[in-house]
Symmetry: D2
Amino acid sequence: MPTVAILGASGYSGQETLDRVLRHPELELVALGSDSLAGEPASALDVRLNGSLPRFVANDAVLEAGADVLFVCLGHERAAALEPPADTVVVDLSGAHRLQDAALYPAWYGFEHPRAAALDGWSYALPELFPPAGELIANPGCYATAALLALAPIAEAIEPASVVVDAKSGVSGAGRELKQSSHAGFVLENISPYRVGRHQHAPEIAQALGFPICFVPHLLPVRRGLLATCYVQPTAELRPLLEDAFAGSDVVRVLSEGVVPELARVQHTDGAEIALFDDPVSGRAVVVCALDNLGKGAAGQALQNANLALGLDETLGLRLAGVLV
Amino acid sequence: MPTVAILGASGYSGQETLDRVLRHPELELVALGSDSLAGEPASALDVRLNGSLPRFVANDAVLEAGADVLFVCLGHERAAALEPPADTVVVDLSGAHRLQDAALYPAWYGFEHPRAAALDGWSYALPELFPPAGELIANPGCYATAALLALAPIAEAIEPASVVVDAKSGVSGAGRELKQSSHAGFVLENISPYRVGRHQHAPEIAQALGFPICFVPHLLPVRRGLLATCYVQPTAELRPLLEDAFAGSDVVRVLSEGVVPELARVQHTDGAEIALFDDPVSGRAVVVCALDNLGKGAAGQALQNANLALGLDETLGLRLAGVLV
Amino acid sequence: MPTVAILGASGYSGQETLDRVLRHPELELVALGSDSLAGEPASALDVRLNGSLPRFVANDAVLEAGADVLFVCLGHERAAALEPPADTVVVDLSGAHRLQDAALYPAWYGFEHPRAAALDGWSYALPELFPPAGELIANPGCYATAALLALAPIAEAIEPASVVVDAKSGVSGAGRELKQSSHAGFVLENISPYRVGRHQHAPEIAQALGFPICFVPHLLPVRRGLLATCYVQPTAELRPLLEDAFAGSDVVRVLSEGVVPELARVQHTDGAEIALFDDPVSGRAVVVCALDNLGKGAAGQALQNANLALGLDETLGLRLAGVLV
Amino acid sequence: MPTVAILGASGYSGQETLDRVLRHPELELVALGSDSLAGEPASALDVRLNGSLPRFVANDAVLEAGADVLFVCLGHERAAALEPPADTVVVDLSGAHRLQDAALYPAWYGFEHPRAAALDGWSYALPELFPPAGELIANPGCYATAALLALAPIAEAIEPASVVVDAKSGVSGAGRELKQSSHAGFVLENISPYRVGRHQHAPEIAQALGFPICFVPHLLPVRRGLLATCYVQPTAELRPLLEDAFAGSDVVRVLSEGVVPELARVQHTDGAEIALFDDPVSGRAVVVCALDNLGKGAAGQALQNANLALGLDETLGLRLAGVLV
């Protein structure tokens, strides 16, 4: 059974990755990395984690010990410096290996990429659209996942310059770190746009689509989940393209005409919903994608990618069943 | 002192109008209309309303008794049928008199306008942009107010076909009526678009701007407040236009560059915030307007309009002071 | 494989029961009853329910067809009138069979029990405390489950007259029905007590404990989950009693000293958390139980009870794994 | 006109005090103290604060300059060290001068009181119950205010040992500081008790009542507001005592029988609601008090106290009018 280690297991995406690994029938967890919790039992992160799990160790110790699959849930800059171990499936949930053009990192991520030459060894993998092409996998950003699920299948049937993506995300998208914009006194009963025109998922979307778009994220007063409302000028019929793209998928569901997408229906799951509307007033089409930023937008997709790289059934370990209210 | 009566005083917009009338130093409340609460004391609506207020009476009785100012907080169809009393400032908070073209009512409101010929006697009044021109005042919709504050001052400096308005509103926008989409089990920890391409504020915005736009509203898990994110392709510099439009306003505040608009900062107030951003990736500009759907988006604006029609200071009775957290 | 039918499958508790049945490896769903959705496909309730599920049929038709296990998710009065089919495990999630003394129904439920003589054929079953004693199972109320998990193991070690249970529940506890107190405009940014001294779970708790207590529920602005804070005057050491009671449980977790219980940690699960604190000021002990009102407080417990009655592993179908944020 | 200065004006209670001072017709703001914002304009705290306000200066500079009224919104330990200027009304919103017995500070506040001998120069002032007795005023804690409004008027008519206060507060009660328990990822869709048996408002309540009680606070997923549910064993009729205590009050409203108190109705106001219920099961009475922790629980009460000390109308500057939804 392939062994798994998680670097940065105590952040939100690390904890969610752990959740999927624990429910995966064909993976064996061997190490939990966390510099802040090193030496502590797993229950120090969450009392639901029982005593049979490995204790946290420093991230460097995890790297030294190795595993068949490595989930990297570190900060962008730390992840960028990582030398990937040989013969290992490495799924990087940070943005450190998503942009093929290293020159983009200073402007969008705020640092020079320390291993620029190695970037083309990584494949940007969004299973329904671009499955992983090797062992080194750059897991897409949450906003990018939603925008690409909505737009990539129809990219040839819309006017590129017309695209606007207005996205709304729960606060877990900003991570567990303490900051003013994650303080509940700011988040509750509020909504605000942020990093308008400057969010690091914009170049990732442009790279995958082949053209730039206008992208604005907003912070919602919800714990988790993300809704991307995508406005496009269509040049052909869009519904067949979307339905074909996800026809066999257990993960992405294209809603029938008239069914409204809901954040709540994808929260705590690794699935996504896509709905298509027309706007008779402007002639635009509106494609809406809902997913859980920590599920399909992070840990769920990371597991899908790892499963594919290992030759396993893509949905093992995922949170897909269930019809919770 | 001018006398005031409110029709439909027991709904959200009626109650908020009452709130402003009570804090207005130069208006005298003489009647509270409500068919469902007729005969009850004001405290039946809210225990904060004390015993010195008039009891609720049927709306028809209010009309018969008359007043110098009449605030109409009834449903659209009911309000449309109203024959306005002579020599009375009538501020209609419903959509019944907003569209000058009666032919639009069946498609957008679901009924034939019963007094189509009288529509041109009403002025669509948004004080900062188009002050009331007579005694019969159609008070703008909440979404329309936000979109127009953001777009009307720059309408000549943008490409009309480029405009997308993605709006998000708290649940009070849907009124006090019981319906599935206002059930807390649906609203909490959720967001969803609704009436995509079919919302009745779209033609109202088009009428005021002179061109149609793409408009999609979303329901937020907050009690009140509304944020409209407007995407435009600029053809000239926009900031001076916005700053000039609201330079002397005590109601609308154009935020300095880099200051992020927040729903929370306008909740429970009659003010609005406008912020302008550029998106270097797409070349678009993003104009964001935040206001309280029950304040500047309804009752606050209704009072502004009444004040202007009576020749009073525009801000009397408004909730503008204050720097609450 | 035992067959399962659900009466009232379109309400919250019905839908959650369906969720558990679908994830149960040894039960076969054969019928979904709903009078309001009869004739509709399962997806009419929730688009996550796929086409292989049975269509909804009228509840009476479900009863006629029969099944090995029947989950009754109907209103109290409707469930009370039900004649249970022979040779069937019937788990009633309503309150219709919880009180052994039929004379209590008019005061607490508002109706005369139509089958009073049959009440003693039902066992009030809370698996960790009182496992089912036959095929007819009265599933405990959500508040009662929380209060009893906290209090039943220590009932002999506290002064009965000292007990106060202050409980707080999410809005799903009030069901999917439209009512003023479930309107999001009332629920959001609010909390209020309700049915003080008159809630129907009070006599159920008293019956199970053997003495009456003071119980006050409050409505929280959350979708789901319930926290019961129980105040008691101890006469002996309480921690060992709680730890012993749940020592082997996969469902109920007694938290170590100093660990604070959280609603969020049990939401969407069928588990429960119990924490014990002392109050040095008053000499009281405070026992806090957190659970999901739709999980351990309803559907999860119903599955546990059905599993036990069928001789299956108690936790089959339950939502227990997982360490979601 | 009396001049006013605020120390610690950039925290939640400081900002709310500023809000009341700005709406007060007979006070003149002369200085805003904040060590973190010293040198910045008032708008650095909130863009709603306009340019005519004084810039922030260091707290020590405010003290040196002096004013007729000084509102102290500093941390407990910092406030305790303050040497109050002569001939000045000083209202301390921290806990530094609430406990008359200096020996209690180490256990409940974590520090030795640096000016223990001066403590008896301060009066603990809750206007409806104990008006200020001099210029040095210790403003009560938010929980203590709610508990005392509910319990002080009935203290002689209940069994002291029976009292349990279960309180629930919005997140603003924990201040603007960044900490794990104020992170929105923790607060949203959650509730949890905290500092059980160890909260610093417990001794303050005991001191004012003359006997200790059992007090447990909980953190609610709301921005602001506080509800205290108080359980007591009555020895006489309680309703007349409550109604008499607040008969002439414009601030505290005793609700009629059957009216349910609501947090939402007191949010953003300086008022409080009290409701009395009986529990026929246990014979207990339940007194519920709702107020805004930043209003009547902090800044509103501070203004009341200052008004009384200055001989002004008690409600000047308060947020009392209004019937917002």
